[in-house]
């Protein structure tokens, strides 16, 4: 049967602008463009286009734009074109649909329903350009009570290991294999420059990144790739990855084609073999088991490094977080369902998990209700899009945020959701040498540093407007938030009042 899967996109080429230089043809790893010398023009194979926009950006004469394929649906909201295309693909192949990046569906984005406060008359706002404004954050556990020897001016209580962030933003886990070494290098260099941390993900720490160890968070995930004593000792913090917001309950699968020499060495697996991360850790079936792993890692590193545990935001995340805190985790990371991934079954990505805003609010509230909030630090992840999202996350109770999608966008990512194909034209989600060299880490690091510096300035401005001069005073300060367009239950879970309420 002739297939009825249509191209998703159409390449629009302005014939008046096109000079047939062939930049688009040389830059497209999907082989969409071709300079046809017989026809004397550049032709496109629309079906191969993933809308990564590399050609659009690189075209020296701005002759290109990508549009939707003009085919319309039948007018049904139920059997729309996308739903029918998915069925056509599965009818052809019998395969699970794969996609990448975060949940793109029309679920509410609660950040956009939370408004920030500002000072007027009765309390002064602060100008961050004229007065000190603290955005430094420490992550890790805290002592039960702080005892100080006032005569010697020394802290007497033993302080648990912590890491210091100059900005409340870290780069979330993206493994070598799922992204290129140049992408990891860009983030590592940026983290060092910014005084914050990058997370090398579950694929091991490449030897070129070991010099950034003081700014590295290393992951111990269900596949245990690249984990040895050297790996644990190099890092500033160790993270146990239980789940990922984009695909809760699902493991990982890095296809053998992406396991080249370097990835193989870093992951400590044979070249060309599939790297399978099982869905569960096979040694963790309870909070007690998690406690064993946490303390194994603490013991191995002589209690010198904080241990974080990352879970996807799911229905009972608050109870799980409470268990994690009691199991000895120093940092709890909650990853919402809009968080990205290099590859996930599309149905999982689009339908599993809950929004980070609700998860964060309920975790923070639960830990506070149980009186254990101060034992742990809380990090929110899963699509932090701008500085206002950071301020909202901190006001809902986060100590810091993890961002990855936004950092990748700074590196050139256009969120085309084709990471799994391994032909990323921006040199990010690929291991092909001709593509990875398109990302010069020197440029990448500069751009990420610019982005985070700009965000930090904006965080300071927003805090100053509220009359707050330290991010510690904003944390969990939900009076600084007001909801709009939310129902009673949503307000209750978020712990915020409605706009206009005193």
């Amino acid at each position: 049967m002739l297939d009825f899967t249509y191209p998703r996109y159409k390449v629009e080429r302005d014939p008046n602008q096109c000079i047939q230089c062939g930049v688009c043809a040389r830059q497209c790893a999907n082989e969409v463009h071709m300079v046809d010398t017989d026809l004397g023009r550049v032709v496109a194979d629309h079906k191969k286009c993933v809308n990564c926009q590399r050609c659009v950006v690189m075209c020296p004469t701005n002759a290109l734009a990508i549009t939707n394929w003009p085919q319309v649906g039948n007018g049904s909201n139920n059997w729309n074109l996308a739903a029918m295309q998915d069925i056509a693909k599965q009818a052809q192949t019998g395969a699970v649909l794969l996609s990448s990046m975060g949940n793109p569906q029309h679920y509410p984005i609660y950040w956009d329903h939370l408004l920030l406060n500002a000072s007027q008359v009765t309390n002064p706002s602060i100008d961050p350009l004229r007065e000190p404004m603290e955005t430094r954050v420490f992550l890790g556990s805290r002592p039960e009570a702080l005892r100080i020897n006032e005569r010697e001016r020394k802290v007497v209580s033993p302080m648990p290991p912590r890491i210091k962030l100059d900005v409340p933003i870290m780069f979330s886990a993206m493994s070598f294999g799922s992204i290129s070494l140049n992408a990891q290098k860009s983030l590592a260099m940026a983290a060092e420059e910014l005084g914050t941390y990058f997370n090398c993900g579950e694929g091991g720490l490449h030897k070129d990144l070991e010099k950034y160890g003081n700014h590295a968070i290393v992951q111990v995930a269900s596949g245990r790739f690249g984990v040895d004593m050297h790996y644990l000792e190099t890092a500033a913090m160790i993270e146990i990855k239980i789940g990922q917001g984009a695909k809760p309950g699902i493991g990982g699968h890095l296809p053998g084609e992406k396991i080249n020499d370097e990835v193989s060495r870093t992951r400590m697996i044979p070249k060309g073999t599939d790297a399978i991360s099982p869905a569960p850790h096979h040694d963790i079936y309870s909070i007690e088991d998690l406690r064993q792993l946490i303390f194994s890692l603490k013991e191995a590193t002589h209690y010198t490094k904080p241990i974080s545990v990352k879970v996807a935001a799911v229905h009972n995340v608050a109870a799980i977080a409470s268990g994690m805190a009691r199991a000895g985790a120093d940092v709890i990371v909650v990853d919402g369902f809009r968080g990205g991934t290099g590859a996930a079954p599309a149905r999982t990505r689009d339908n599993v998990g809950i929004p980070i805003e609700l998860a964060l609010a309920s975790v923070d509230q639960r830990l506070r209700d149980e009186g254990i909030r101060s034992r742990v630090s809380l990090v929110a992840a899963g699509s932090i899009r701008n500085s206002a999202d950071i301020v909202r996350a901190v006001a809902l109770g986060a100590d810091a945020v993890y961002c990855a999608s936004s950092a990748l966008i700074a590196l050139g990512c256009h969120q085309c959701q084709a990471c799994a194909g391994g032909k990323c034209n921006w040199g990010i989600a690929t291991q092909r040498a001709d593509l990875t060299k398109r990302l010069n880490p020197e440029i990448g690091a500069e751009r990420v540093v610019n982005l985070v510096r700009a965000w930090n300035h904006e965080v300071q401005e927003l805090m100053g407007g509220m009359g707050i001069n330290a991010i510690d005073s904003l944390r969990g300060n939900r009076l600084m938030l007001r909801g709009v367009g939310l129902n009673e239950k949503e307000l209750e879970i978020l712990g915020v009042k409605y706009a206009g309420e005193q």
Binding site: Q20, C21, P60, D434, N440
Partner: protein, 157 residues
């Protein structure tokens, strides 16, 4: 003086430098569409990307302190400006003997038909910027998306 350096590690073979160079040396500098549409086959790029998507670099004149091309030029077309250090070729004096081409250790000189078609002339980078040899970023460097062409101060070679 500032010179252009090609970094093969970061060259992505897009050849935007070639496009920019071609337009810059057309009667419509800066207007790529006009340059390519109106000048047709009459304009040439002086920077040339060698290689393919795997390994490539932009071959370009190094503006040597003691240029072999100037040494070998039999007609005095190839000159080095003693003040700016920029090496240029004067098309009106070039006789198309190709001595410069064979003497250049970097393969930076190409020979193209003269506009009249009666002889060939040597073409090479004139370190364009705000003007030939004037300070300002050359058009190829400005067009490079990945810093594979760097315009930096360097010692005399």
């Amino acid at each position: 003086m500032k010179r252009i350096y090609a970094i093969p590690e970061w060259c992505v073979n897009c050849r935007r430098c070639e496009v920019a160079c071609k337009a810059q040396h057309s009667p419509w500098p800066g207007n790529i569409v006009k340059a390519f549409t109106l000048a047709g086959d009459e304009i040439y790029n002086r920077v040339r990307v060698e290689g393919d998507n795997i390994v490539s670099f932009a071959a370009n004149c190094r503006h040597c302190a003691k240029p072999k091309c100037v040494e070998g030029c039999i007609s005095g077309a190839m000159q080095r400006d003693p003040e700016t250090g920029v090496v240029t070729s004067d098309p009106s004096r070039c006789v198309g003997c190709r001595t410069c081409v064979s003497m250049c250790p970097f393969g930076a000189i190409s020979v193209v038909p003269a506009p009249s078609g009666v002889k060939s002339i040597a073409l090479k980078c004139d370190l364009c910027g705000d003007g030939a040899g004037a300070p300002g970023e050359p058009s190829c460097v400005a067009a490079c998306p990945n810093r594979a062409l760097m315009y930096v101060e360097s010692e005399a070679m």
